[in-house]
Symmetry: none
Subunit: 199 residues, 4 copies
C-alpha cells in the first residue's frame, strides 16, 4: 500500500495505457468496432500492435473501463450516509449529485466522453457487461441493506433494473442532444420513476 511515489515507470505505463484506450474508443465510435483494426489503434496511439496487446489482451478489452472503480468507491459510502427518512430513490438521487460533484470537472468530462463512446457502440456493451452487473449488484445490496430487505427480493431487483434501464435511455438521449445536461436529465428521470411513471 506504499503508493506514494508511483515510480517514474509506472506513470509512463499508465499514460501509455490511457492513450491507447482513448484512441481506440475514438476510432470505435467513428468507424465502428468491427471496422477498426488493432493496427489502426496502434498507429493512432503511436505504438506497435504488440504493445496494444501487451496492455489489452483482446481487442474487446480496449473497451473495458476498469478504472470505473473510482465511482464505485465513492457511491457506496455516500449512499449509506443519506438520512434514513429518504426513500431509496431519493437517496440515490442525492448520492449521484454528491458523487459527481466530487469529481474534478476535467475528469468528469473525460469520463462522460468515454462512457458515451461505449454506450453508443452496441458491440462494446458486452465488454462491460460484467462491470454493469457488478454495479447493479452493489447498488442492490446498498438498497437492500437500507430497506431491510434481501438482495434477492423482487422489489430490490426491479429497482436496480429500472434504474439501469432509465440511466441508459437518458444518457443515450443526452448523447444525441448535446444541449442536455446528462446529470440533470437523469435526476429528472429518477424523479419520474419515483412518481410511478405517471402516463
Amino acid at each position: 500500500m506504499s503508493a506514494d511515489p508511483p515510480g517514474l515507470r509506472e506513470r509512463k505505463k499508465a499514460r501509455t495505457r490511457a492513450s491507447i484506450q482513448q484512441h481506440a474508443l475514438r476510432l470505435f465510435r467513428r468507424q465502428g468496432f468491427a471496422a477498426t483494426t488493432v493496427e489502426q489503434v496502434a498507429a493512432a496511439a503511436e505504438v506497435s500492435p504488440s504493445t496494444v496487446f501487451r496492455y489489452f489482451p483482446t481487442k474487446e478489452d480496449l473497451a473495458v473501463l476498469d478504472e470505473h472503480l473510482s465511482l464505485a468507491t465513492v457511491i457506496p459510502p455516500a449512499f449509506a450516509a443519506q438520512p434514513p427518512e429518504l426513500t431509496a430513490l431519493q437517496a440515490l438521487r442525492a448520492t449521484l449529485r454528491v458523487a459527481f460533484d466530487a469529481l474534478l470537472p476535467a475528469d468528469r468530462a473525460a469520463r462522460m466522453e468515454r462512457d458515451m463512446a461505449i454506450l453508443q457502440v452496441p458491440q462494446l456493451w458486452a465488454a462491460n457487461a460484467r462491470l454493469v452487473v457488478e454495479g447493479m449488484d452493489t447498488l442492490g445490496e446498498l438498497v437492500a441493506r437500507r430497506a431491510g430487505r434481501d438482495p434477492g427480493d423482487p422489489a430490490v431487483r426491479t429497482f436496480t433494473g429500472a434504474v439501469l434501464g432509465v440511466s441508459v435511455r437518458v444518457l443515450l438521449d443526452a448523447a444525441a442532444d448535446p444541449e442536455t445536461d446528462p446529470l440533470e436529465a437523469l435526476d429528472e428521470a429518477l424523479a419520474l420513476l419515483e412518481a410511478g411513471l405517471p402516463l
Copy 2:
C-alpha cells in the same frame, strides 16, 4: 406472393433455417460466441458451412431474431385496444397477458428458450440492438399516443427505458431460477414500477 400455402419448398427452407439457428444459439450459450466456429454450427445442424452462410450472411446474424416481429404485430393493436382509463403501465400489463396467451404453448416455450440464449450471452446483445431499439420506439409511440404526449417527452422515454431495464432484469433472474414463471415475475415487477418502486 400468397402466404396461404407457403409451398413445400418454402417450408423446408424455413425448417433448415430454424434448425441452423437453434443449433447456433445452443452452441453460443454453451461455449460462448467467439469460441464457437461456423464450422461447428454447420456440423451440428448437419449442413455445410457454405449453407450456413447462404441462410445467414454473417456469423452474427445467427443471433438475430428477425421473426421476433410476430410479437411486434400482436402487441400494438392489443395495446391500443386497452380501455383508456387504465394507466400506461396497467395497459401494458394487460397487453402482455393477452399477447402471450395468444401464442401456442409450444411456440411460447421455443421463443423463451431462444430469447434466453441471447439474453445470457452478452456478445449477442449487440446483434439485436437494432431490434430492441425499434421495439422501444414502437412502445414509446404507443404510449405517447395513448397519453397525448410527444414520443420525445422525457416521461415517455423514461417509461420505455424503465420497462426495458426491468424486463431484462426479471427475465435474467427467471432464467437462473427455473421455478419462476417469467411472465408472472414480469407482471409483478411492472406493478412495482407503478407503485413508484417503494423501498
Copy 3:
C-alpha cells in the same frame, strides 16, 4: 494414376506454388534468409501472406525442394543399368551424364538456378537436410547392391560422403564462376576421387 487432365484448378495451384517459391528463393539469395520477411515474399508473388502460409506451412518450407524427386526417379534405374565392369564411381559418372541429358534444357537451367540459391544460403541447408540424407541413403543402397556390400559398410558410407562433399564444393565453386560448366566440373572432380585424390 489418372493424371491426364490434371484439372484446370490443379494447374493454377501448381503455378501459384511455384511462383511463390521462386520469388522466395530469389529474395533469400539477394537479402539473406533471416532478412527476408514472409510479407515481402507475398508481395513479390502478388498474393497475401495468408496464401503463402497456405502453401508453405513455415518460412523454411519455402526452401524445400520437394519436386527434387524427379531426379530421384531417374537416377536409380540409370545407375542400375550401367555395365557391371565399371567401378562405382565410373557408373555414377555415366549415370549423371544420362540423367542430366534427359532433362529439358529449360528444366535444367531452372533447377540449377534453384539449387544454387539454396546452396549459397547456409540457412537453407537445414531445410533440405532430410532430402540430402535420403539422397545419400538411396545412393548408398544402389552402390551397395552393385558391389555386393552392405549399405552400412564403411566403404559405402565413405563413398557417399565423399561424393556429396565433392558435389557441394564443386557446385559452389561453379556458382561463383559462371564460366564453369557445373556438370563438367563435377565429372572431373569425381574422376579425381577415383584417382585417389593425387596430391
Copy 4:
C-alpha cells in the same frame, strides 16, 4: 593483456559462458533448435535471459564454436611438419593423430560432445558455416603449398570437399553408434579415399 594469470573474474566469466553454451547445445539436441527458447536455456544454466544475451548476441551464436580455433592453431604447423614424401592424405591422417593426441582427454571428450550436438541438428550447421568454410580454405592452402599447386586448383578443391564430406559422414555415423571410435573411423575412411573409393 597478459594471458598468464587469466584473472579470477575472467575465469568465472569463461565458466559461465561455457555453462550456458553446454546447456544450450544439450537442449538443442534434445528438443531441436527452434523449439528451444532462450528462456529455457537461461533457466537451465541458472542465469537470467538478459545474461544469456550478454554472452551471446543472438540465439544462433549459442551454437557457434568460436574456440574451435584451438584446433586451428594446432593443425597447420603439424601438417606442414609432415615429411614431404607423404601424399596429402597420408599427411593429413598423420596430422589428425598428432593433433588429437595433443588434446587432453577431458577436452577431447567435451569437444566431441559439443561438435556432435551441432552435427546432429541441421539448424545449427548454418551458424558454423563460416567456420567450416574457413577451415576448408585453410586446409586447401596447406595442401596447395605442400603440393606446389594453386589453392584454386580443382584437385585441391576436390580434395577439401571430399575430406569434409567424408568427415561429416563418418562422425554422424559414429554418433549413432557409440561403440565406434570416431578418430579411428575417420582414419579408415581417409584411407579409403586414398585408395580411390574402390567399389
